[in-house]
Amino acid sequence: MIGQIKMFSMKNVASVTLRSLVYVAMGLTAISLLGILSYILFNGVKAFKWSLIFGKFSSANPSMSFSIVTTCVMILLTLLIAVPISIFCAVYLTEYAKRKNIFVNWIRLATETLAGIPSIVFGLFGAIFFGTVMGFGYSILTGCLTVAIMLLPVIIRQTEEAVKSVPDMYREGSYGLGASKLRTVFRIVLPSAMPGILSAVILSMGRIIGETAALIFTLGTVAQLPGGLLDSSRTLAVHMYISTRDGGAAGREVAFLTGAVLIVVILCMNIGASYIGGKVGKDFEN
């Protein structure tokens, strides 16, 4: 008995408090997420109508169909610009650059800076540079170029990690067989790092889908199926924003439904990314 009472000394009270705080903190995190998810999904399901997803956009049926297409086009074009540049940059940093290379520090500083810049500043820059100076106006092209710059640091960093985690013996084996450096990079290093790169790509798709602030002033807000690169349109997130802003009561429903669709898509992408990313980890353990 006495021993048990002694257990409740100050030391243990502090420990128990700390431990419960740890659980409370994780609980709060989970609760905030589940609260937001269930609120949007609940209302999204309530507003669910096939015509709002696949129907033709009109004032009577503010459907999201056109913005699904725009979102896909945006993802494709943006990745087309950002992924090769980022991968080559990561390859340069890990495979080619010497440790004391002056460029390396500058490149790292630049990617870190890019990573920290808020999307609204990217939006401002995109509107000024691509929109006005280059003359692309509100268009898919302006939007893609702007978002592509935003994604550079994300993909570069993750690709670098993936490339670094390719064991050196792979490279040595390749060199030993007489392969050139270039061949080693493309035939050995990049394929081995592919799962990591893929998961980076999927995560950046999530970024593109979720982006709003950088797109309003670059991609614009026209409700139409884009006919070309210089046309303006809306991605799903922009459609959701404009619907809450200008859509009235019907717009609210569309916003909920669009939000629900966004959440489902992002959930799938996250799971996909961690599945692919997790596989690479296991491969290397073996």
């Binding site: 609980g27 609760i31 004032s59 802003r245």
Partner: protein
């Protein structure tokens, strides 16, 4: 154990999320409610709706804007309506065409804000919707679209969209022109211009209208810079703008002063509205 705890906490929050807002705070009409501050909701300063409202309600003297400094600023009239819908102590204004059943439009000096009263001039808080083109512009498609919106068939669309018509010109016969016409400007005209666009594109299958909503002033700026063909404005053109563009008024829109459904105030004098928006009347008990 942890899982159970988490599940309970989670369920609690979700329940809270859905019922929390149902909890009755002090009512706007009750004793406590009268002491509550009025939530003034307005738009950002360069919006067309705000410009028209401020001018009509004398919140600006043309030089200095005297809006209550603590007013909540929203980026569209619909957002204003959403805020009023969830805030029992709010007052805001929105386009008459976007008043829903979820908010209450006040009568001003006893005059009901409706189509008839705006048209005959007894409801004074109203502004025109204007489509403007650059003077000397030779854009045939723009001309034809303007002809359409002021025709009888165009005005029928305006009326169906819940806005107030202007006197219609002769009837419109589709010119069957084709090409792309870009419009930009006021967010407030979205509901009516979208319907006009659909009707027009139906009549002229070759024509394609691209509409960007970025605000009246920006729309006029775009038009002057040849970034767009037609500017949409939700306020009268300013004198200096009239030197370079010509406007066609295609609809009138009343601006309704809205409060929460549960608010028992249903009439205000123009003077009182001005006082509230200037921050001179701060509490609902000042209002009676």
């Amino acid at each position: 154990m942890k899982k159970v705890l988490l599940a309970v906490l989670g369920a609690g929050l979700i329940l809270g999320a859905f019922t929390g807002c149902g909890k009755k705070g002090d009512d706007v009409n009750g004793e406590g409610g009268k002491q509550r501050e009025i939530t003034v909701i307005s738009r950002e300063e360069s919006s067309g709706t705000r410009g028209a409202f401020d001018e009509l309600m004398k919140i600006t003297d043309g030089k200095t804007n005297m809006l209550f400094r603590e007013a909540v600023i929203v980026s569209s009239t619909d957002e204003a309506a959403s805020k009023v819908e969830v805030d029992k102590f709010a007052i805001g204004y929105t386009s008459l065409g976007s008043v829903t059943s979820k908010v209450k439009a006040l009568t001003i000096d006893g005059v009901v804000p409706n189509e008839e009263n705006v048209k005959n001039g007894s409801y004074k808080i109203a502004r025109p919707f204007v489509l403007a083109v650059k003077i000397g512009s030779g854009n045939q498609l723009a001309k034809d679209f303007l002809k359409f919106v002021s025709s009888q068939s165009g005005q029928a669309v305006v009326s169906k969209a819940g806005y107030i018509t202007v006197d219609a010109a002769a009837d419109y016969t589709p010119a069957k022109l084709s090409g792309k016409l870009t419009l930009s400007g006021s967010t407030s005209v979205e509901k009516v211009i979208q319907k006009l666009k659909e009707e027009y594109e139906g009549l002229n299958p070759g024509a394609k209208l691209e509409i960007n909503y970025n605000g009246s002033s920006a729309g006029i700026k775009d038009c002057l810079a040849d970034k767009s063909d037609v500017a949409m404005s939700s306020r009268e053109l300013k004198a200096e703008e009239k030197d370079q563009i010509t406007g066609t008024t295609f609809a009138l829109d009343g601006i309704a002063v809205i409060v929460n459904q549960s608010n028992e105030v249903s009439n205000m004098t123009e003077d009182l509205v001005t006082k509230i928006f200037k921050g001179e009347a701060r509490f609902w008990n000042d209002v009676q």
